[in-house]
Symmetry: C2
């Protein structure tokens, strides 16, 4: 049987798959689509051959943590298992967010922009120690928890938001997603890490941004579609709140003429928060144990996606 790859991996990992009895192929190889049982990653053009009647596809392992771009209901109706790369990016996304927090509180974003104008000095700059901030992390899963573990020792007050509002270590307080606006009002910084689902699409809209305090900041390292980008741009332009940083956008790559590029007080990074130099090793620490279990029992041991919930 075949494992079909959407990207390359080091030979040592391919050897481990071969040792379990699989032929590893990429879609430019010549192979029989009928023999594909497992894929790593997914491409739109694979739908025709792999959703055909004689397909033996049983399991799709996503390369990213988010699976919102995958045809989940098709997988569900065909009984295809889905797992994701959740957990791999926790450290790097946490580093990215902590970096952005320092850039905001220490005026390093403003200074970098100003450097381009060759002017020394920053007018009216306000410097805040992280230890005096209340930061709300929306999403208390892998990434949110890793980030909270970074912030608590820095003296930050860390609130968490999840669907039910259940308590979770090391968050000081947790709230349910229904309470987002109420929590927004008392936060200095709100960070979105939620996966994209129906419930989280356009969650951050005009009404949400209106709850933020004048000095507050918003950071999105979840999915672009969770934000009403027009409303974000307007709230920043009219200085309803002070600063936003987005690593994701509804349209990626963001086209050069997009209005977000010229929105004041907005920092844009090109979906880099998850980059880690150890991607393959960490990825295979999820995939290979799953492949062993799948080979033995057609079930998975880690990171299986609930196709109903979408994450």
């Amino acid at each position: 049987m075949h494992i079909l790859l959407a990207r390359s991996f080091k030979q040592t990992f391919l050897d481990e798959m071969n040792a379990l009895g699989y032929d590893v192929v990429v879609d430019t190889d010549s192979f029989d689509w009928h023999d594909v049982q497992v894929t790593i990653g997914w491409k739109k053009e694979w739908e025709a051959p792999l959703f055909s009647k004689d397909s033996q596809l049983k399991w799709v392992h996503s390369i990213s943590a988010g699976v919102d771009t995958l045809p989940l209901s098709e997988f569900a109706s065909r009984g295809i298992l889905v797992s994701n790369a959740s957990g791999i990016h926790s450290e790097s996304i946490s580093d990215h967010v902590v970096g952005v927090l320092y850039m905001y509180t220490r005026q390093l974003f403003a200074a970098t922009l100003q450097q381009e104008t060759h002017q020394w000095g920053l007018d009216d700059a306000v410097f805040k120690p992280l230890s005096e901030l209340t930061v709300t992390i929306v999403g208390t899963g892998n990434i949110g928890t890793t980030l909270a573990h970074r912030l608590v020792p820095l003296g930050v007050t860390v609130f968490g938001i999840n669907r039910s509002g259940h308590a979770k270590e090391p968050f000081h307080e947790t709230f349910s997603l229904d309470q987002l606006h109420e929590v927004g009002r008392k936060s200095d910084i709100v960070i979105n890490i939620l996966p994209l689902t129906r419930q989280t699409t356009r969650l951050y809209d005009q009404a949400f941004f209106a709850t933020l305090q004048k000095h507050a900041a918003f950071i999105n390292v979840g999915r672009g579609e969770s934000v009403d980008e027009q409303a974000l741009s307007e709230a920043l332009t009219t200085e309803q709140f002070a600063f936003a940083s987005i690593d994701v956008a509804t349209t990626e790559p963001l086209p050069p003429d997009h209005f977000l590029w010229s929105t004041k007080h907005l920092m844009i990074t090109p979906h880099i928060s998850g980059y880690t130099p150890h991607f393959e090793t960490k990825f295979m620490e999820i995939f290979l144990p799953n492949l062993r279990e799948f080979t033995a029992s057609r079930t998975l041991v880690r990171n299986q996606v609930d196709l109903e919930q979408g994450y």
Copy 2:
């Protein structure tokens, strides 16, 4: 007797000085220079009246940690005590440096510059976890030690350099200033926090920058005069090493046509690393105990500057 101020402070602090029997004046007030016994801060134009024969000046308390701009040998020959604001800026400078480290390792400086061009994506960007870095802090005093305490829990290997090379907590290893080039060779990042003295003037020259590895970075939050800025600019332009961030320059404010502004791979911030919202409170935690002791015994209890050493 008068305490002469180079800047204003909150009334509550002035009240405490009054309660100890002093009249607080600023140099636009009308007062008798002969009655000035203490100054907070220093101005060039005070030298004529306060170094005159009938001056009763006994103590100068610097507003900054560095006293390199003060006429130290004049103070020494006149028996004038000098103290400084060392310690006040440790937390904020440490925050600034940690922010710069994340900006470098997570490519947030490169992304911010690129945002100006409206281009999504970063070519050849390398992302490094802080935990895999060896960072050398040159200067193991107040600020260096506070910074080291931030970096050790992040998994960073932290070397320290001081004059004698004496061990200091929490540095993993310490070296003497004579070993700077040897330590530069094995560091991923070198951070200068030294005060400006004869020994530290132009310490970072062409020969030093030549020791750095191709991927290395240099950060200066000490004094601009410790760096040969022409050599720094050339080393960055020719990519001898990868990145530098300076918060200080030989000429401040840096003139708009200065060559540093257009040096590639160089981040320039306008001497903001020490800014703290709690400056006055922290400052007075040093000055007021000193004033009480000075009033009682003409000696100081904290932060006295060794006029021979210059810090």
